[in-house]
């Protein structure tokens, strides 16, 4: 059989958090279905989607939990942070209030996830530049101060959506590779397939076993 490994060998759990209406579900939908959902109803609960991506030749399944953003559900959604390998913290670049609330979302994310959870800040609705209320530089600085990855994206045009999910995955994978994320630790948010056999393929040149038969 051919070279590509059949299947993913990791599962990463992600959560998406942020104020109501910033476009969390649309980002997820754009990422999993490559479509923009125009009349997206408010999420009342926790939805989830999956997609397989590839990082450094490794197939990784992302299991993404999209949480309700309404303030009244805040206490309830806190239950879902646990065991996330990555968190997408989303605000709306056209609504300053959603940006102002970030520190409170960040507090939750820091308190309720493990120290290795990769948090990426996403300024959504980048297509509505005319109505921009939060500058790129400002958010970039906020991200840097807090050690977050940062991207502006648009769930509508799809711009940077893929990258947002990928960047976080790369960082998580890097953490696994350099050993800072212990896969065996409870709540690492990563499941690893114990071995990924490549099929019974010869990759080294066979060496005849006996003298006299040598090549």
């Amino acid at each position: 059989m051919a070279t590509a490994p059949y299947n993913y060998s990791y599962i990463f759990k992600y959560i998406i958090i942020g104020d109501m209406g910033v476009g969390k579900s649309c980002l997820l939908h754009q990422f999993t279905e490559k479509k923009f959902m125009a009349d997206c109803p408010h999420t009342i609960g926790v939805e989830f989607g999956t997609r397989i991506i590839e990082v450094s030749g490794q197939k990784i399944k992302l299991q993404i939990w999209d949480t309700a953003g309404q303030e009244r559900f805040r206490a309830v959604t806190r239950s879902y942070y646990r065991g996330a390998a990555g968190a997408l913290m989303v605000y709306d670049i056209t609504r300053r209030s959603t940006y102002n609330h970030l520190s409170s979302w960040l507090t939750d994310a820091r308190n309720l996830t493990n120290p290795n959870t990769v948090i990426i800040l996403i300024g959504n609705k980048a297509d509505l530049d005319a109505q921009r209320d939060v500058t790129y530089e400002e958010a970039k600085q906020f991200a840097e101060e807090n050690g977050l990855l940062f991207l502006e994206a648009s769930a509508k045009t799809g711009e940077n959506v893929e990258d947002a999910f990928l960047e976080a995955a790369k960082k998580i994978y890097q953490n696994i590779q350099d050993g800072s994320l212990d896969l065996n630790a409870a709540e690492s948010g990563v499941q690893h397939k114990p071995s990924a056999p490549q099929g019974g393929r010869i990759t080294n040149e066979p060496q005849p076993q006996r003298e006299g038969c040598g090549c």
Partner: protein, 914 residues
Amino acid sequence: MDQSVAVQDSLKEDENCIVAAQCQFFVNDVIESRLVSLVECKSEYGIFLFTHRRMAITKDDISLDKVVPITKDCTIEEVLSEFPVLGADMTVRITSDSVFLELQLPFSSHSQRFLDETCKACHGVDMSEDPCPQFLWLSKYLPKSALASDSEKKGAFIPTAAFKGIETEASDNKRKTGTATVNGKSQVSEETKQNIQNISDNNAVRDGKVKPEVNNDMVRSSSYTVANKAQMLAMPQFELRDNLIKCELLKREESYTFTKNYRFFVGTYNVNGQSPKESLLPWLKGGIEPPDIYLVGFQELDLSKEAFIFSDTPKEQEWSKAVYEGLHPESKYAMIKVIRLVGIMLLFYVKKELAEYISAIEAEYVGTGIMGRMGNKGAVGIRFNFHNSSLCIVNCHLAAHTEEYERRNQDFRDICSRLTFRSFDPVLPNLPIMKHETVLWFGDLNYRISDVDVEQVKKLIDERDFKTLYKYDQLKKQMEEKAVFDGFTEGELTFQPTYKYDTGSDQWDTSEKCRTPAWCDRILWKGKSVKQLQYSSHLSLKTSDHKPVSSIFEIGIKVVNEELYKKTFEEIVRSLDKMENECIPSVSLSEREFYFKDVKYMQRQVQTFTIYNDGQVPCQFQFIQKLEEPAYCKPWLTAQPCKGFVAQGAKLEIELEVFVNKTTATKLTSQEEKLEDILILHLERGKDYFVPISGNYLPSCFGSSLQALCYMREPIQDMPPEHIQQFTLMPLHPQTEPSNTLEKQLDIPKEVWMLVEHLYRNACHQADLFQQPGLRTEFEEIRDCLDTGMPDSLPGSNHSVAEALLLFLDALPEPVICYSHYHKSLDSSGSYTQCKQAISTLPQCHKNVFNYLMAFLRELLKYFMFNNLDRSTLASIFGSLLLRPPPGIKQDATQKKKVQEFIEHFISKQEDVS
């Protein structure tokens, strides 16, 4: 059952059986059941192998077979197959300098424990400071010679391996894994692993089995912790997906493969026990163009008794060398595999640059000789994948003698049914020959030319009329009758019979037997894209009484277009993802949010909604707890059913019930809590729905404190909420009223007065007062009356009013005799003076209510003739409400008695306590 008891029973006092497990043990290819156990003595460990009766209970049931001391060079590994399956048997390999054991353990906790403990013991030996464990305690279990010689030599005890056949493999295996398995640590490099997996190994081939590679990742994970247990549970998910993708890839193979022709050389030569004496190049060159693959078969490699019995022959090497030297000189070839059964040998070479496209190589043999098993006749086979095509090569030597064609047919059928190859996926059954896309079958098939005399045969040969001669060929006839090689094809025979010549010449057999020449040596094929380019014999080779036969095939091989493959693969993965997403259970709820209006004390309110399964899979739902909450909902709420199952397209009604009772009323009245909750409806493996529940609670005197009610001159529901909150949250103040009170406090709550006054006016003559229950509907009217207005007279029967009074007292967050007075009061129950003393220290409003109630009870007792009441009945009813034990304290019978006595003092006397 734990059989370690039986093992322990057989041991000496200071020896300790840590774990015992049932296993299967390979002894010379025969599988036998053993009991394997880990035994410890003075921090040294040994593995004991016992033969045993079915289920060992005492030492009489077991008998020691082998002992393996766990020395520093001892390794324990779990041997894993390519695709490990959860729940599959495990194979454990125990190796040390001179021991090689392979045990198969069933999937069980005993087995897992055996592996864990043994690994631990191995690890312990590695870590230990003690340079050489002595294993003196083991000496009594071992043959004397072994101990004497080896331990003297090496300074540490090393047991002799008592198991021939496996022993050879031990050294072989070590060579393969190189230095990797030293000291119980597994560090097989990627490279070595590949070698183990792929490169033919003559020793391994000898017994026809290539051992699966040792996968070190899994060895590590076999000592599971809680954390990686969770990972193990995730395994089936990974498994299932792999299989689905594999199936799908197979289905769509055409979309990403193209056919490319490769040149195959096939040769067969019965060498009549001779050693090579001449170059094989004329036979093996196979034309101008170098073949891509060589498949060379021999029969009668060694006719000596030794070869037959010990299956070991120098001829293997001699002929392999001769073949290697005779391969087409313009190309470099790599040997992929050799398999030999006594004199039947098959060599498999491939052009070096093509080696990487060969995979899934398996070799097997089947003996069909004497007793149907022996190896003087039979077949050897190699199966492999070349690019994306599967091929099976069989070299056989069928039964001899002209008249024995039926026997030959039988041999063929035997080989077909018994020669099967281990499947790379352990869950799949073994692969039979005919399951391969292309089968090349050759060898000394031994079919003769019959029903014609020798002279006629020789004449036809001289005339080169092979067409006529072929009519007398047994194989042709048998194939026409479909008695053998059904579905196979053979090319036209354009060469003279290959048997039997005088050795060293081109002369037909001149011996006494003067055998009729025959086409014994044949090459056949089965498969769609096989084209025979050449089929010939080679008269110039004179070593044997047979002539070698060769054929060149052009075989269409499915080659993967990597780009298309990647595309197909991704398509499959994507559709699988889509399917997976679609298979996430989904439901719709008829209502998403609920408001319970005007919830009243002790009055049920129910709302319902429907769960409709609009997903594509059945779903299991459950209301789940939120972070740091004790239950899935607040105590005043229930959901019925709170978990269940809904099939696709089915509906289920859920009932939400709000019910405020005395345990929840107080905080709702005080507005410390609200009728607010969010239920999480969780779908198994699916999303979660939040169901917000809210409502308003109408404050009630039921569940309110005496003190708060004393401040309320208006009915509670006419009070501004902030006042209710203020009064209900006010700490219970002791004796005297604080000076800054907003309003003058009532002496007793008006609600108590209304209830008692009503009973005093109407119910003194009521039979069974306080003993007959009231009506629920009347209670609700009474409650509303108390909470909303002050009509002159309460509604409902006397019994309902009486019950309302009791319910009121029961719902008081602080009983009339405060919790703080409980023990004091009980202690003073013996003396009326002390009881009075206890009462006198109650907060004023509590004291007032107590005196008021006692006066009322005394009044009631005057009418005992009518209402059937007596002191002790009243004392026990009211005692249990007025003098309640603080929460969490249980009342025993003595205490109950004291409570009753306490109250009796007061209703017997005619005075109030001031």
